[in-house]
């Protein structure tokens, strides 16, 4: 019971501590305008090329992809901002279980990711004059929550590398681009070569995008339970991998002395 209280308190306090530096202007640019401009660009592109066909699905899929900002970069900052404030080693040397620590920090970013995606969807609906029913939006919410959870799991894996390997910016940017590519948010999956589609099967958001397109473009709900289950399972596997990686990374950072290096 006490542990739960600490878990929740830490989630809230760490977000305040590490993200409290964002002044409203920067927050507006980073969390709102930048993802929205990504959405507008890709939505306009697909609108032009496909001549308006299946637009709802593509716009919504792009909205979902916006969560990458939080699930990759936000999660990574869970470790790197602590390094920036000079408190990483203080936190790492406390008795608390590191996995539950980073897990509690991830919650804020899952929620933030969902917020970003919803914002993108609302904006897309307004800008492109789309119509989405309440039933569709509620189901999408559930699907997106699972997808974003899964994406955060992968983000945490990348983030754990930050503990002992400097210059992770390159890898996180690559992951963000990879997710945009293999999720199929902007084209039918069949256009990708087989091996790339296979990669997409092992990355988060692919199934979320697929379901989004199925529901909004075709009204097809037949795959929801199955793909949702798979996405959730994938997310759990990612978090489990990140658990072992975090242990290994912590050991590496103590061996190499790289905890404070950027």
């Amino acid at each position: 019971m006490e542990a739960t209280g600490r878990f929740i308190r830490h989630s809230f306090l760490s977000y305040k501590a590490l993200f409290g530096w964002l002044d409203p202007k920067v927050y507006l640019f980073v969390m709102v305008l930048s993802p929205l401009s990504q959405l507008i660009f890709f939505s306009t592109l697909v609108n032009y090329v496909y001549k308006g066909e299946n637009l709802s699905g593509y716009v919504a899929a792009n909205a979902l992809l916006l969560c990458v900002l939080n699930s990759v970069f936000g999660i990574m900052s869970v470790i790197t901002s602590d390094r920036r404030t000079g408190t990483l080693h203080l936190v790492m040397c406390t008795p608390t279980n590191k996995f539950s620590l980073f897990l509690s920090r991830s919650i804020a970013h899952v929620l933030n990711g969902l917020f970003t995606a919803i914002l993108g969807l609302l904006f897309g609906i307004l800008l492109f004059d789309l119509s989405i029913t309440l039933k569709e939006s509620l189901i999408l919410l559930l699907i997106w929550l699972c997808s974003i959870f899964s994406a955060c799991g992968l983000g945490l894996i990348v983030a754990s590398f930050c503990l002992w390997s400097p210059s992770m910016h390159l890898w996180s940017n690559m992951l963000a681009s990879l997710l945009l590519l293999v999720s199929g948010a902007n084209y039918p999956i069949a256009r990708m070569p087989d091996w790339l589609q296979l990669v997409g099967q092992f990355t988060p958001l692919t199934r979320g995008v697929q379901l989004t397109k199925d529901i909004l473009n075709e009204g097809n709900y037949s795959n929801v339970l199955f793909l949702l289950g798979e996405e959730l399972l994938l997310g759990c596997i990612f978090f489990a991998i990140s658990l072992s990686l975090l242990k290994f990374a912590e050991y590496q950072s103590r061996l190499k002395g790289t905890m404070e290096l950027d």
Partner: protein, 326 residues
């Protein structure tokens, strides 16, 4: 008879940096070289040395942040490299500088945050935070954000953080760096109070007078090597036959200073120059010869502030290690 709580045996640790465009060249820096010492329960133990001597590396190893490459460490009977989960609740560490706090949180929130990380039960958490804030004199500003604090206040909050889990051993790395004299003195008083209550303290510093005032025993460390360990008074006794002559000379020339440097009676001389003034600090067994010599060889200069005094710990360091600590 106080038992040993920290035992460091033959610890070595180096850093390898990669150089060059393709990271082919590797440069190795030996931060610690075969260092051994032990600390008894209830002691205040000091590690003294210049920047880069290896003090911070040692503290990092002791506080479970770093794993030594060779040798062994035992703290309260536990190995910090492997049994850190059992050790971490019993120790804490305070690093100098301003960065080790969350500036956007209030003082209270900072302590609450770390109290959770140290799994302090909620039954005593509130009271302990309140008591600690009172102990370090920050109870009035508990709800203010740390970014508004002065350096001294931040350091005091750090101390409070370091005491959240009532540690048996407290490690401090250069705790008074950047502090004004008043804050530094407050810090020393606090440490003495803690020690009286039974906390073992290990601190690193390059301020000699601080080590002299606080520590029960001191170890000199330089370039990763432990040079000497003893109590401050024993260390000073080793050179109590030495006198220290200090003076300022205005208008002297380089050759004149060189002449003084070559004087046989002088064991060690430290020369600082600022504009036209040279400050000299001389260690010698024969002050009765050195003083007249200074006056004779500096006929056209003005000599001021001449003092003859007993050696301080800094002089011991300079004599033993052979370099200036600052």
């Amino acid at each position: 008879m106080n038992h040993t709580v920290i035992k460091v045996s033959n610890v070595s640790r180096s850093y390898i940096t990669e150089l060059g465009l393709f990271k082919k060249e590797k440069k190795r820096v030996d931060a610690l070289n075969d260092v051994s010492f032990s600390v008894k329960k209830g002691e205040i133990f000091g590690l003294l040395g210049p920047n880069g001597a290896g003090k911070t590396t040692m503290i990092k190893i002791l506080s479970t942040m770093l794993i030594p490459h060779s040798g062994s460490v035992s703290i309260l009977g536990l190995d910090p490299a492997k049994e850190f989960n059992l050790l971490r609740p019993k120790i804490n560490f305070i690093l100098g500088g301003e960065r080790n706090l969350y500036w956007r949180l209030t003082a209270y929130d900072n302590l609450s945050y770390f109290a959770d990380l140290y799994k302090i039960p909620s039954t005593c958490k509130k009271k302990r935070i309140k008591d600690l804030l009172t102990l370090v004199g920050l109870e009035e500003v508990a709800q203010q954000k740390v970014e508004t604090f002065s350096k001294g206040m931040k350091q005091r909050l750090q101390i409070a953080r370091g005491l959240l889990n009532n540690p048996e051993i407290l490690f401090l790395d250069e705790p008074s760096i950047g502090l004004d004299p008043v804050s530094a003195r407050q810090l020393r008083n606090l440490l003495r109070k803690l020690n009286n209550q039974g906390t073992t303290i290990l601190l690193t510093t390059h301020y000699m007078y601080e080590a002299d005032e606080l520590c029960d025993r001191i170890a000199f460390i330089n370039k990763g090597n432990l040079i000497e360990i003893d109590t401050p008074s024993n260390l000073k006794k080793k050179i109590d036959d030495l006198s220290i002559i200090q003076c300022s000379v205005i208008g002297a020339s380089e050759p004149q200073i060189e002449t003084i440097k070559k004087l046989q009676s002088i064991q060690h001389i430290q020369v600082n120059q600022q504009d036209f003034t040279y400050s000299l600090r001389i260690q010698t067994n024969e002050p009765q010869l050195v003083v007249p010599f200074i006056y004779d060889s500096m006929k056209n200069s003005i000599i001021t502030d001449l003092t003859i005094s007993n050696p301080t710990l800094e002089d011991v360091y300079v004599k033993t290690v052979g370099v200036n600590v600052s």
